[in-house]
């Protein structure tokens, strides 16, 4: 089995970008950290297979784990995103609350 690390990373980056759409700038730092770790991991995996340190069965299992790691990363990015959304919504509610308070006092 051939392993095109750049292609895999590009696909995964697109999956992450697709999941956050307009909020990419918010989660960019976390996503880039995940992609860098993924790159290092896949290079190590490919290197170990090429040098014969691991057999094909082990190689295939770890490659399959990448899908589960990506799932976990997407949940993590969803949390980063939700924190930002919660902050934005509550800041807006605070403005509304202040306006109503002021109106009631007047």
């Amino acid at each position: 089995m051939t392993l095109d690390i750049n292609e895999i990373l590009a696909d995964m980056l697109n999956a992450i970008k697709g999941s956050v759409k307009d909020d990419w700038s918010v989660v960019k730092k976390s996503a880039n950290n995940f992609i860098q770790s993924k790159k290092d991991r896949l290079e190590l995996l490919a290197n170990m297979r090429i040098t014969g340190a691991i057999d094909n069965d082990f190689f295939e299992k770890r490659l399959a784990d990448e899908k589960e790691i990506l799932t976990s990363e997407l949940h993590s990015i969803a949390i980063v995103n939700k924190v930002m959304a919660q902050n934005a919504a509550n800041a807006a509610f605070k403005v509304l609350e202040n306006v109503i308070t002021t109106a009631l006092i007047i």
């Binding site: 950290n33 290092d40 589960e68 980063v80």
Partner: protein, 145 residues
């Protein structure tokens, strides 16, 4: 009449304070963050410790106690996730970590021993499951009240 208006206004303000706030994520927990950092370190030590041994001595039974201790800590993190509100993403991440930790433990048991390459990859892959947990918990520090 003025008293009635003031009572109504106070009630309205109290209602606004309690109802008009959105909660999408759980509150940050320093205890959970610390436990994630410590258990990840323990998990990495398990594997790097094996690298110090000759390959024939890297048996499952030589580190079974460490495996059980780490698994117990992962269960504790998962339990704490399950106990807090707005926990869906955290519980899923915790379960993925646990399932894969148990899978790697089983592989070690079945293989009897591990070579250097396999150990390096177990470290890299289990850390791949730890990293999202830590990123997510740290993100909760940014919640503004």
């Amino acid at each position: 009449m003025k008293t009635k208006v003031l009572i109504f206004a106070s009630c309205l303000l109290m209602t606004l304070n309690s109802c008009i706030s959105l909660k999408l994520v759980p509150d940050y927990s320093e205890a959970i963050e610390t436990q994630i950092i410590q258990t990840q370190k323990q998990n990495e030590n398990l594997y790097t410790g094996l690298l110090e041994l000759p390959q024939e001595k890297r048996t499952y039974s030589s580190v079974s106690k460490e495996y059980l201790e780490i698994e117990s800590n992962i269960n504790s993190i998962l339990f704490q996730y399950q106990s807090r509100e707005k926990n869906e993403d955290f519980v899923k991440m915790g379960k993925l970590l646990k399932d894969n930790f148990v899978q790697y433990k089983k592989e070690h048991k079945d293989k009897k021993t591990l070579n250097d390459g396999e150990i390096s990859l177990y470290v890299a892959y289990i850390n791949g499951f730890w990293q999202p947990l830590l990123t997510a918990e740290k993100a909760l520090k940014n919640i503004k009240n």
